[in-house]
Symmetry: C2
Subunit: 338 residues, 2 copies
């Protein structure tokens, strides 16, 4: 197995990306290919005292930044770490591509260079979210602002297969994100999707409300990418707000500062439970190879977790299982809607 | 001023409703009319040792419950506390109606019995949310699942007037909830709304992302009721999840339990800052009288805050100012979309 990584993508690239790979290399039974400026990567491998044999470097002279226009960048920066990396997996010389770089470019590149699984109308970004009762897969987490009911059905199928094969959840509970639990609640999209999701092979538990996602009452939360992106960002923002408010209050008196010190181990575990990076990155489900998008601000630990997630994704043949299981709905519109 | 309250609506009615009113009566310069079963209300007023003169009782023999179908209940339960209360404000014998009962019935009742402000196409529930930087008004918080750009413009106008008149924010910042900050991001609704919101008299700061709401980067967050309800519920659920996770970790060791004890005052202030009920209930903006929906689980404190909020709403003539300022767009579709 060969895990291909964009060494140059993300706010903390290349240092944290390479550091995370050096750490991951010790724990996994796979090759890692770092794509990017060879000289720079070599220096960092030396800095992090890498002496193993499972990391190789593939040179790429350009970098796609967050200021680049996605489709244009994919077409013009042919020797960028992202395009080169995607081409490696396209040609079958790699099994999975991980990047913390420009999200739009990664999605466009995956679509145009690697292609969709036959029958998948719209691939979807699927982040794994922390919740009170373990990980929840949110799909679509932001790739398709406008969706049809058939797209949401495919999201549910792909999401279920991922949670089953990679996270080992036997019969993943699928919930449709809505504004009430009754069948006829919501807008046209949710009403039509509700009917579609009631089919054998899918453990559809019905409509769920926003609160059920952080509470973890489902394994797969299905919605369009507009709603999904807002859920993702509200959860991130709430997590940050709560931490800041708590810190402010603890720093207000000597007694509470002392109490806070006694709670450092508890706070650390608490933080770990709310940490998005614990479960790796967001999968781009529906692409012919595994593609994982890490948060732009990913540090070494996030990258290490994404590499482990990638290994499990490939080892458990998630792409193959999606290909086999997907009910084909046809449809050829690959406009991402954004 | 006469503040009319549904004594029988909500999970903790009538006890907590009446308790909250007895408390509020000490702090406000207005009459309070409790609508509901006269005998029961009298008993509770005695229990809470009420001896003042500004609370009166208006008898109503029926109660609309959460199991009732909204429109049907409004039509058939003519002597319910909700219908009787709405009729009191309709007839001008009261200035504002507060209920913690069936949300759908309250909205339907306000529309059919009290009517919309002329020119308002869709009234909208507008909850005041806590954030890192003070209160944020979310409008629409769940009443209209399907909206047109013109509806969102009216939400922005009504929300701005509320934040200015009642909360004293001089030039309320209005943000359009979207999946990116660039002008052309989002779906058809947000793209068209973006153009509409750029008009004099409105302090439109552009698109905002989900995270900006808990961070408090705007005063008024505008979206359709589908997205709004999900934001509201995700924030509630995240708040609860965080509290539960923190409690779990603190209870895991003796040392952290001791640390937690030292932090009780800090936790209390922290909780107060995240407490939805601190700012009262959700306004039903666009109705000819002030109507406030409190959370179904409201306790006495929540009711007391809603009464104070109602007093400010009426004193500052928010309805009148909405009526004067609203740009008329016509439109007569009062279907709530749910």
């Amino acid at each position: 197995m060969n895990i291909v990584i964009d060494a140059m993508g993300g706010d903390n690239a290349p240092e944290e990306i390479i550091k995370g790979c050096v750490e991951a290399a010790k724990h996994i039974d796979a090759e890692i290919t770092l794509v990017g400026n060879e000289e720079v990567i070599k220096e960092y491998l030396k800095k992090f005292a890498y002496t193993g044999s499972n990391i190789t470097i593939h040179n790429a002279s350009e970098v796609i930044t967050n200021d680049d226009t996605p489709t244009k960048a994919i077409k013009s920066k042919k020797d960028s770490s992202m395009v080169v990396g995607l081409n490696i997996i396209k040609e079958g010389k790699g099994d999975v591509f991980i990047s913390a770089g420009n999200t739009g470019a990664l999605m466009a590149g995956a679509l145009f260079l690697v292609d969709r699984i036959k029958g998948v109308d719209r691939p979807a970004l699927a982040p794994v979210l922390p919740s009170y009762h373990g990980p929840v897969l949110l799909v679509d987490g932001g790739s398709n602002a406008n969706c049809k009911p058939e797209n949401l059905l495919q999201f549910a199928i792909m999401g279920s297969i991922y949670m089953k094969t990679t996270l080992g959840i036997e019969n993943p509970r699928v919930g449709l994100v809505n504004i009430g639990t009754e069948e006829m609640k919501g807008n046209e999209l949710t009403k039509q999707t509700f009917t579609l999701l009631q089919q054998p092979g899918l453990n559809f538990i019905g409509n769920i409300e926003g609160r059920d996602i952080p509470m973890g009452l489902v394994d797969v939360a299905v919605c369009d990418g507009f709603v999904g992106n807002i859920i993702l960002k509200v959860m991130e923002g709430m997590g940050e707000t709560v931490s800041k408010l708590l810190k402010d209050e603890i720093n207000r008196s000597l007694m509470s500062k002392f109490g806070g010190m006694l709670l450092i181990p508890a706070f650390r575990k608490f933080k770990k439970k709310l940490d998005y990076t614990e479960y790796g990155g967001a999968l781009y489900l529906g692409i012919e190879r595994a593609v994982i998008k890490c948060h732009g601000s990913s540090n070494a630990k996030a990258i290490m977790n994404a590499v482990k997630q990638a290994e499990a994704f490939v080892r458990n043949k998630t792409v193959e299982k999606i290909r086999e299981n997907l009910v084909e709905f046809g449809g050829d519109d690959i406009d991402s809607g954004k």
